[in-house]
Symmetry: none
Subunit: 223 residues, 4 copies
DNA sequence: AATGAATGAGCGTTCATTCAT
DNA sequence: TATGAATGAACGCTCATTCAT
């Protein structure tokens, strides 16, 4: 899957003029809002049309089926995250530690926004029933882990590529898990900053002590 | 909320006899299966009735509304997890390290089962739109973290109660996050055991080095 | 295809009680009326439900899809004609000529009724786009031609089975063709009786002079 | 109704230039194809526009309503048949028998083409619900019977005009009825040529023996 | 305790049609 | 001429729910 060259699912021949393109954008925005507010189960063509201020006929003019709309919606939102993760990687010139801290900082802050808190659990649930969504989600995370992987390599050259990938995955999972507990409106939201410090601290240590088998790691630490 | 004294949502006056009670159980089993297979969006009274082998009229006899059924369904499933976590805690006589390892072992194995992999993301998504579900989920995790909290206290007496809670939360989040990546059928499922080792190792270290403010921790590390 | 053992297309489990059976009958009657009045293009679930005096929900309770309803509708109506043709054949004890006359008499009278005049052209049109309808129509006509075939054999033993089938087909086609011109409300409706006489006369002659090759026939006639 | 001076139903002011006229022709061709393939129930403005390679906006520019298009479509197709029947009549210089045979030959061959097999049943069905179509169809057949009527007069001067009309109608009906049974793709398609022979033979005899009451006819034949 | 029958709102979608450009 | 954009009614169908038996 080439995440850079995504193809839209709207009806061919539509959105050729500027009016149609902006309408398409407003549809995707409306769909995103409904999806976030009401979840996939509450995502209906009528709600989207209402929110976008158009008729259902016009909505179906742009998106022949609800599924087409859903795909473009997820493409659209995931595309936004991909864009941000691409930028995060470019924080060059800094030390790997600073880079890592910067990424985690952004990541955990983001998961505290209402949109992300609501969007990703829906995505995870959907991915279990829709292979296409699963593929998109996997692609997104793979991309998001790339800078982590790279930084781990800089911070601990002893790590094998496989170890780097596993560590990045573990860190990614740990942060994403925080969404459920410290996301927007969640019970631990007020302690998100402290949890972020714990995560950063922990990941630094984790990276530093890796680079061999668990036995070796423990040995090195105790020496 | 008292998780020990949950109240069922089925229609009062039903399930008074043994036949009704077993029927209720089969309904909840059917509902769970549908919920896991099709997600909340695909959970319909018809499907549940079909799966349970009864008429929709009869289903509505036991559960006046779909929402009632959903509440009992989630109560039912969460109750199962609570039961297990209660047992885990009873692994007394062993060292705290062994206890911790045992819990994480079970936890991460469980998240690799098809049921858990499918069930929890649905739950997280649902919790964002249904306060009652949110409350149940929070209660479940609070209970699940209790043994972790306790073990942390045993392993590192320097930890304040607040620190213990935060560490337990972080560990819980990190494991739950793995569901999305290393759950059943997920891309990292084959490396789940290794990720488990990383988690256990990491949590051990994390607990060991905690027990002060973040500043103190850093100071100690740099010395 | 066994026309005698047709299977209904209504939802399994419905129409088990007397109320449901009579409702099913009223639905088929309503559907028949709508089909005849408005044609296949004008046959909608809503119109049928309205005509039957029930909600569309209830209509869909009995017939899951419009196609199911259509099949049963056609089965239902064709079944009526089959029943009649079965009876026609039983006009035993009379001379073959009388029997033939009786059948043609009934046939051409029937095609002058509003229902038949409207129903069959719809059927012919539908058969061109729906193989299942085509099969039903073919089955109906095959059955309808059976007594004709038999009578031809009695009237002219010189006819080979193949000739009999062809003659019966030709007669059947000629009569059915009259539907378009002399059916109810058609320009030649008022002369239907005279056209019937022409047909009967013609078919008698046709049968009588058959029983050999065309060349032989012409030879015998000119002698 | 004057079939020679048909008035088109396209929007006044359109198709004034050569480009518009050819576009109109391509629209009618597309409409005919859709009508034949999908039937009246499947005839939609979108399909016609797609097939014609234009936008539905442009289609509605030429035909303000679907009904206008339908009328012109039927006019168009029927016009083609009228044109052919006009030519058939001009097979002068031959004997009436030869002329008759030539007409029947063409007629029954034509009804075996995919277009005619599909088109006419749709037309008959439509005529039952649309008076304008009924009028057009009646006009077409009236014209088609003219040469038959004339030839009958030549072959049997004893026939009264009324008898001639009835015989022509009967013959026309008999042939049209063959469409349903021996049209393209129908069960008897392979025996169409033999059925044609039966028809020709039969009609010759029918014409020859007519010209009086049935009794007289028989008497004359037997003498 | 259980069923078949029934409702009406809402679903996704297609339709003929209009309009500004 | 021709298009893309837009509408609103109607389509077939599913839904949660109610009710009489």
């Amino acid at each position: 899957m080439d995440l850079n060259q995504r193809q839209t699912s709207h009806r061919p021949g539509t959105a050729t003029q500027s009016k149609g393109q902006s309408r398409l954008a407003s549809i995707l925005d409306a769909a995103r809002a409904v999806f976030i507010n009401a979840g996939y189960a509450g995502l209906t063509m009528r709600k989207v049309a209402d929110r976008a201020g158009i008729s259902i006929g016009n909505l179906n003019y742009y998106y022949r089926t609800k599924d087409d709309l859903l795909r473009d919606l997820i493409d659209h939102v995931i595309g936004g995250y991909l864009h941000v993760f691409g930028k995060l990687r470019d924080a060059a010139g800094q030390s790997p530690q600073k880079q890592l801290e910067s990424i985690l900082d952004y990541w955990i802050d983001d998961l505290g926004t209402p949109e992300t808190t609501a969007f990703f659990p829906e995505l995870w649930a959907l991915a279990n029933h829709d292979p296409h969504v699963a593929e998109l989600v996997d692609g997104l995370y793979a991309r998001a882990r790339e800078p982590l992987d790279e930084i781990i390599g800089l911070m601990n050259p002893a790590c094998t590529p496989r170890e780097r990938r596993q560590l990045a995955l573990f860190m990614c999972a740990a942060m994403e898990g925080l969404t459920v507990f410290a996301g927007n409106g969640k019970p631990w939201a007020s302690q998100r900053a402290q949890l972020k410090r714990i995560a950063i601290e922990d990941f630094m240590q984790l990276i530093g002590r890796s680079g061999g088998t668990g036995a070796q790691t423990r040995a090195r630490q105790t020496v």
